[in-house]
């Protein structure tokens, strides 16, 4: 029975192909949307895990979150180390991790921080160990792979984030360790101590301080006027969630932003666009359904004879009904499979063209439960589109058809 329907489909490769393509296109868009949405949300929540509040210079709170948690936007500016240290004495703060941004190596951001940052993401080393001295760095898995460096190698960082202006050639970095693939933001970062970031930008070089061990917890000890870019804060108790942001935003030169709040705001903004594309995809799918309906309906006119002959060969009305419905369903299943394949392919291309930035963290090799739903929807479209033609086939009057010739 399936073979019979299939034979009739491939007897008309052009209209069959067109219908499959149209349906596949609509479903591919939905597949890509589902994949991107799911992975973005997953990544976003994963990367923000354990960070209750981000404190940085005044500016856009969303920008602060994007730059300090996800490392995709530019930082809002630097804050005074004294302000930051004052905040760490607040009784509502359980832990505070300073971040110093501003440099990159071949587009991978160099992040000055302390060992708590590694602990926050439960970092695992594939080789070497964490930094001990200034200019020791640890590479994220992807960063190491892309720049082709391993533990023991040295490199020279560039000033700026993303595109570099000039190189800090006075101070080569020494790689002390490389992380295992973590599946989070660490993969794309080059981690080092706050001190490394400071000393890189100094004009004078004091060799004694460059050999001294760096701070592994809290803030580095210094008597100079120093700055950091932002602070990742963990609350001591739930009351802090209410009091701390208000306190920081009103009283100091600092700005506090909550990752979960800002990210849900971001998704809300993106949601309009996503809805629009979704609507477009649904329209395409409906057109594809209509296309299948028209194709079946037209072919039925030519095929009434064939159907009548099948009846004389012993086919029941129900078998003819099934024959037409199967044709629609085969068409849509093929469309769904091709659509899901195109969706994944599209994502592969998208990821290949953006090997840095937010999109590169996506993976096309992920298959979701929702994709089975796409298949189910497609089958429903196929059944709906073939229902009327199938009913016509069911009602074929054999004698009338055969004598009409």
């Amino acid at each position: 029975m399936i073979k019979l329907s299939w034979k009739y489909l491939i007897a008309k490769p052009l209209s069959t192909g067109l219908n499959i393509l149209l349906l596949a296109l609509g479903l591919a868009i939905i597949t890509v949307l589902i994949l991107i949405q799911d992975q973005f949300e997953n990544k976003m929540t994963k990367d923000a895990e354990g960070i209750d509040l981000v404190v940085g210079a005044k500016g856009s709170p969303l920008q602060l979150i994007l730059s300090s948690v996800y490392h995709i936007d530019f930082p809002t500016g630097n804050i005074d180390l004294k302000d930051a240290m004052a905040l760490s004495k607040n009784r509502l703060v359980k832990n505070i991790i300073p971040l110093g941004l501003g440099d990159n190596y071949q587009g991978y951001r160099i992040v000055g921080t302390n060992h708590d940052y590694l602990a926050l993401y439960k970092a695992v080393f594939s080789e070497g160990e964490a930094w001990e001295k200034p200019f020791d760095v640890v590479l994220g898995h992807e960063a190491a792979e892309k720049v082709g460096l391993k533990a023991g190698d040295t490199f020279i960082g560039s000033h700026g984030i993303g595109s570099s202006s000039h190189e800090h050639d006075a101070h080569p970095y020494v790689i002390t360790g490389v992380l295992s693939p973590m599946g989070n933001v660490l993969d794309k970062l080059i981690l080092t101590s706050i001190e490394s970031v400071w000393y890189t930008h100094d004009e004078e070089h004091d060799h004694a301080t460059h050999e001294a061990p760096v701070a592994k917890k809290g803030f580095p000890v210094t008597d100079q006027d120093r700055e950091v870019t932002s602070l990742l804060i963990q609350y001591r108790n739930p009351i802090a969630a209410i009091q701390l942001p208000r306190f920081i935003n009103s009283k100091s030169a600092l700005q506090a932003a909550s990752p979960s709040f800002e990210i849900s705001r971001l998704f809300e903004l993106l949601g309009v666009g996503v809805k629009l594309i979704q609507g477009l995809a649904i329209v395409i799918i409906i057109i594809a359904g209509l296309g299948i309906f028209i194709a079946l309906f037209n072919s039925l006119k030519e095929r009434k004879y064939d159907l009548a002959v099948m009846r004389t060969l012993g086919a029941s009305s129900w078998q003819l009904f099934l024959h037409i419905v199967l044709e629609g369903v085969i068409l849509t299943i093929l469309g769904a499979v091709v659509g899901i394949a195109i969706g994944h392919l599209f994502l592969v291309i998208l990821v290949m063209q953006n090997d840095q930035g937010a999109i590169s963290t996506l993976s096309a090799a992920v298959f979701l439960k929702e994709e089975l739903w796409i298949l189910a929807y497609a089958v429903i479209v196929g059944i709906l589109a073939s229902l009327i033609p199938a009913w016509n086939a069911y009602q074929t009057d054999i004698a009338k058809q055969l004598t009409k010739a």
Binding site: D306, L313, G314, A315, S317, Q319
Partner: protein, 211 residues
């Protein structure tokens, strides 16, 4: 008796009733129904084939009153017991020759293992994998005969099988039908207005006046 069609009455319009004689045939018997076009020959054939319900009367094939059968039961019965050959071959174009015959087997859920021998006897075994569009008229007609026979029907009905053939082929087709019907012990009815067929079968009914 393989076929018993009694007291059949049919009309599209009650003022214009068809005169339909009783038809009784035994297994292996053959009959010719002659008549001009428009005389209702095809209507009779459709009634006997179970495609068109008569206004009254019964059609009994191999002991079964076919118009008492319902739905798919009727379809199965028709597929299994009645082989119909149409004026035009009406072979399903998307399928190959062999697949057309397999389909007939499939619909009655029976494998008669007759496909190969039949194609061989009809001289078209080498065309078994061929597309229908590549066949000649005569070959297509033979495929449709093979398809009508593949389920070993008790009754073979042929509607103007020779209409589009030349003298030589017309004789060959009639001979073929007769031989195959005899071989599988089936009753054969040929409906035609073709005078060339007349000499081959002596058992004749004339519909709608002498032609």
């Amino acid at each position: 008796m393989v076929l018993r069609a009694n007291n059949i009455e049919f009309y599209y319009d009650s003022n214009q009733k068809f005169q339909i004689p009783d038809i009784n045939l035994d297994a292996g018997e053959q009959m010719l129904i002659l008549g001009k076009s428009g005389s209702g020959k095809t209507t009779i054939l459709n009634i006997i084939a179970g495609l068109l319900k008569p206004k009254s009367g019964t059609v009994n094939i191999d002991g079964t009153d076919i118009y008492s059968l319902k739905g798919s039961q009727f379809d199965k019965f028709r597929g299994k017991n009645i082989g119909i050959i149409f004026q035009k071959p009406h072979i399903l174009a998307p399928l190959t020759v062999e697949e057309n015959l397999q389909l007939a087997n499939f619909f009655v859920k029976e494998n008669t293992h007759l496909i190969e021998p039949l194609l061989k006897e009809l001289g078209i075994l080498d065309k078994r994998k061929a597309r229908i569009s590549t066949l000649s008229e005569g070959e297509a007609q033979r495929v449709s005969i093979a398809r009508a026979l593949v389920n070993k029907p008790k009754l073979i009905l042929a509607d103007e099988p020779t209409a589009s053939l030349d003298d030589e082929n017309a004789t060959a087709v009639v001979k073929l039908l007769q031989n195959q019907a005899k071989k599988y012990d089936a009753a054969l009815i040929i409906v035609t207005h073709d005078q060339r067929v007349k000499d081959h079968i002596s058992n004749q009914i004339i519909i709608g006046g002498q032609s």
